[in-house]
């Protein structure tokens, strides 16, 4: 069963199947690693694009949740991601003001959009409210 593991609450509510992790991006990766240990296959890359771990507090990973022998490719990908996050300073969602938190949540969701569509996990078209990204008084 395809499943989205994420600490992005708004994105979690927009998908058909998944698990919400209340915590940091590293907590998400550690949960994915546990699933891989019991046989799940990682379907999307575990590192985010163009943002370092200390810049992007959200992490979302799609897995095929199954029980079985360990998939070594998935294990390799998730272990290296956990290493990267363990060796970097992290920010957590609750360290940010609302505007920034929404910006990062929106980009996290947008970068998952194609993959969520591909694996049939989207409930509707809207993933995350983009209002804070739009022009506003600063």
């Amino acid at each position: 069963m395809y499943s989205l593991i994420t600490n992005n609450a708004e994105l979690h509510h927009s998908v058909k199947s998944g698990e919400y992790i209340e915590g940091s991006a590293l907590d998400v990766l550690i949960r994915v690693r546990s699933l891989v240990h019991s046989g799940s296959i990682v379907l999307t890359h575990t590192l985010c694009g163009n943002l370092r771990p200390n810049h992007q507090p959200f992490r979302s990973v799609i897995v095929d949740e199954i029980q079985g022998p360990v998939d070594l490719d998935s294990l390799s990908v998730i272990e290296s991601a956990v290493n990267v996050y363990q060796s970097s300073p992290l920010i957590t969602p609750d360290e940010l003001d609302d505007g920034r938190r929404n910006d990062y949540a929106y980009i996290d969701a947008e970068l998952m959009r194609e993959s969520l569509k591909h694996y049939g996990l989207m409930k509707g078209e809207n993933l995350c409210n983009a209002s804070s990204l739009l022009v506003k008084e600063v």
């Binding site: 379907l43 590192l47 694009g49 370092r52 490719d73 947008e110 194609e114 506003k136």
Partner: protein
């Protein structure tokens, strides 16, 4: 395939009633540009056009894309095919280039993913676009609640339209220089220079998702399989940036048009190696896509019988995985690789600089450490919105000081660590 680039050398800019070119000066009609850009109902009423010259105490931010004005004066198709013009194949005939000039799109878009261009001071040493005569569009959406993707597309098209319009307005002028590029067919290339190694170029394009996109003949590159393209098509704008990612290493449309890897490979073709083909590929999010595209790009290189490839990346993070897959799969097929990337090694330069690596990646060129911190002096004039320094990638809350100085990582400077090598950072022999 033969393409002539007719270059008009732009040495200065001024506003005037009618757009045109005379004695090295490009006159820009603000009214004409505003009329052209405001045709789009997605763009708001407070659009502005400004100009910025090298050496001026001017800061432009946040910058989305940089585009070189070009216009085809003969040959099939028109510049930026599938995006601005019809989908006809380009790369043949004559194309007018306003050399030394650039159109910049600026405004608040995906706020933390745009960049800074300083026209003087220490910041100008890090961006190639401080040396161009810049026509700046400061844009806003007509509806503050507009969908981000619609607004990104509107900004992208506004920039391309302006660049094409400026060059079109100078179409009757006699070029200062004419460069002639001629490319053989693959069949001819295969039979040429038997003593030289056959070399290709794997050209990776950012395609991680909406707002992290690149277009080829108007097609979203995330939806393509790797394919072969002539370098001459790239010079006519077949590849267009739709990116809103870190400013330092997103490949602007300008840097695609002037891709220095292609330029150098064309120069060395027939001397050091036989430059057979250019392969474009994507950087998608799912692991299956990454595996498919890297296997397919390596397979194309192998089918062409290449001895070696240059591979350039765009962006960082999980695209590092695409870079490494391309490298490893080519090497496993007996094709030597040279990689061009940049680094995110932390402000002290001590962290792991790439998210992925492999033993086969033993020939790697870096465009610099994007995390290096730089202090930018205050400028007399800011085109755009200086306060964005506090939210752009590479900046932080407090990056913009009360006195107008800005402290940021190089990541925030447009083009500072371009992975096409279109950057001012490098190692030089003195």
């Amino acid at each position: 395939m033969k393409l002539e680039l007719h270059r008009l050398k732009v040495k200065g800019l001024k506003f005037g009633e009618k757009t045109g070119f005379e004695n090295g000066i490009l006159t820009v009609s603000k009214a004409e540009i505003l009329a052209l850009v405001s045709e789009d109902p997605l763009l708001g009423k407070n659009i502005d056009v400004d100009i910025a010259m090298p050496g001026e105490e001017t800061r432009i931010m946040p910058v989305k894309d940089v585009i070189e004005p070009r216009w085809k004066i003969s040959g099939k198709g028109q510049v930026f095919p599938g995006m601005l013009s019809d989908v006809e194949t380009v790369g043949e005939g004559q194309t007018l280039v306003l050399s030394g000039c650039a159109v910049l799109t600026a405004g608040k878009l995906v706020r933390f993913q745009e960049g800074i261009i300083d026209m003087s001071g220490v910041g100008s040493d890090y961006t190639p676009y401080s040396k161009t005569c810049n026509v700046v569009l400061v844009l806003e959406p007509s509806d503050p609640n507009m969908d981000k993707h619609d607004y990104e597309a509107a900004c992208r098209i506004a920039g391309l339209k302006t660049a094409a319009y400026l060059a079109k307005s100078c179409a009757g002028c006699k070029a200062d220089t004419v460069e002639v590029y001629e490319r053989p067919t693959i069949r001819e290339a295969m039979n040429s220079y038997p003593e030289l190694p056959k070399v290709g170029y794997i050209y990776m394009l950012q395609t991680q998702g909406l707002l992290h996109d690149t277009y080829l003949y108007g097609v979203d590159v995330k939806r393509i399989l790797p394919t072969i393209i002539s370098p001459l098509e790239v010079m006519d704008g077949a590849i267009v940036s739709g990116n809103c990612v870190s400013a330092c290493d997103k490949n602007s449309t300008y840097s695609h048009l002037n891709n220095p890897v292609i330029a150098d490979m064309l120069k060395r073709h027939g001397k050091d190696f036989n430059f057979v083909a250019c392969i474009v590929t994507n950087e998608n999010v799912t692991l299956a896509d990454k595996r498919r595209s890297s296997s397919y790009a390596a397979k194309l290189a192998s089918m062409l019988g290449l001895d070696g490839v240059v591979i350039t990346e765009e962006g960082f993070g999980n695209p590092d995985a695409d870079l490494i897959m391309n490298c490893r799969k080519c090497e496993q097929l007996g094709i030597k690789t040279a990689l061009l990337t940049d680094e995110y090694a932390g402000q002290d330069g001590a962290s792991q600089s790439l998210a992925d690596s492999c033993p086969e990646g033993n020939a790697c060129v870096t465009a610099g450490n994007a995390n290096e911190v730089i202090h930018l002096p205050a400028m007399k004039k800011v085109i755009g919105f200086a306060e964005e320094a506090n939210v752009i990638a590479g900046g932080w809350n407090g990056s913009l000081a009360d006195d107008g100085t800005i402290t940021v990582e190089l990541q925030a400077i447009t083009g500072a660590t371009s992975e096409l090598g279109y950057t001012k950072l490098g190692a030089y022999t003195l």
